[in-house]
Symmetry: C2
Subunit: 216 residues, 2 copies
DNA sequence: CAAAAAACTGACAGTCATGTCAGCTATTTG
DNA sequence: CAAATAGCTGACATGACTGTCAGTTTTTTG
């Protein structure tokens, strides 16, 4: 009996994996477009080409589905920053990080939007993450920048604010993509545009921290 | 008859003005917390201490109420930037603008969040604004920066990207306030914190554009 | 190929929200 | 103070969505 109730834990078969992936992809779009409350399981099911009740077979509730996406986003997100250490050259490391984040805004705009929307609306589903995991991780990363400063490698900017600056400036091109396109008079940013964004941001931010652009 | 149907246009009495203001205040909070779809007229009414049906007496639909707020936000928002001209000193003008925007994030976080959420989710209610008014205004502002560059007063950064940088960096402290507080280990940013933010951003961005900090 | 497991679905119950309207009450005004 | 206007509200019609469950179909496996 107890065994039976746990049976669902075994996520087996090819069918399950395929369908879960398909549902997650569709849900990511739907949540990005309409937010958690605005998204409907019905729409997600339609996007995925699967009957609504079948979506429920894979994900017990809308919140389950949402959380699966949200936690996935965060993992992917933190990865790019986690590799930077105090031994790296600051100009190179920060330049690479800015570039990676800009490209991430290009390749994963949905994820960025879902995350942003969650925080804007009070992060009701990330309170545990923000209360436990986030701060230690964030402090560690700020520590790397602080170390560079103490080694005299860059200006004594506040590491916390510098990180926020990089995050906001880069994520802007995913979250506010619509406004950016409207301002530039384009229907969509090209690969070149994103490179331009990355170059401009890198130039301003590195120089602003007293760092020289690394020659490529 | 035609006269009667227009009668509502005359927004008269003190009672109406009071109640409308109260409802708008409550709606701003509700929309910021839950987004357009997540907000309910019922909750707004409760916040305002007014029966739900009475809210409908003042605003025909939820969308009407939302639009009243959204358009108000945009007007307020554009004001700070609209005063800058090519004759101003760039360091001073940009510094003041950054400061104003940071302080705006402090005093009007709800408005910022509502605007951000609207754009993130595809700006379905601002399509007219973005198709008509926004670009000319935005180009004019970029033109001011371009003029400074041509006068040799600052580095040849792309004006468009510079504006986006300032917007994103400053609005971040309203929209992502929760993440910022979590990262800094505070429950709320103080007046001093916002001044620090403004100082740090100004320092990095101005230096990044080849401008000297104006001495206060 | 038959039994077991996984995948699927139609029908249902329950909840919550919006918007309308007729008729009520309070306030203003001549 | 009475007529006119503004403000208010209960009841109702309507629709959307979530989540459950029993029972069916498909797939896997021994």
């Amino acid at each position: 009996m107890a065994k039976d109730s746990r049976a669902k834990v075994y996520k087996s078969g090819r069918i399950r994996l395929d369908n879960e992936a398909q549902i997650l992809r569709s849900a990511e779009q739907e949540f990005a477009e309409h937010g958690f409350q605005g998204a409907s399981i019905n729409s997600i099911a339609k996007r995925a080409g699967i009957p609504r009740t079948n979506v429920h077979y894979y994900f017990n509730s809308k919140l389950d589905l949402y959380m699966a996406i949200l936690t996935g986003v965060i993992e992917l997100w933190n990865d790019a920053f986690s590799r930077i250490t105090a031994d790296d050259d600051p100009a190179e490391a920060l330049g690479a990080y800015i570039h990676a984040k800009v490209m991430y805004s290009r390749s994963n705009p949905h994820a960025s939007k879902i995350f942003a929307s969650e925080i804007i609306h009070g992060a009701p589903n990330l309170s545990v993450y923000f209360k436990k995991e986030f701060r230690p991780w964030f402090n560690a990363k700020a520590g790397v920048i602080q170390a560079w400063i103490e080694q005299g490698k860059m200006d004594a900017v506040d590491p916390y604010y510098l990180i926020f600056l990089i995050w906001s400036a880069t994520q802007h091109y995913a979250d506010f993509n619509l406004q950016v396109c409207a301002g530039l008079g384009k229907s969509k940013l090209t690969s070149n545009d994103y490179e331009d964004v990355s170059d401009n941001l890198t130039r301003i931010i590195l120089k602003g921290c007293g760092l020289k652009l690394p020659d490529k």
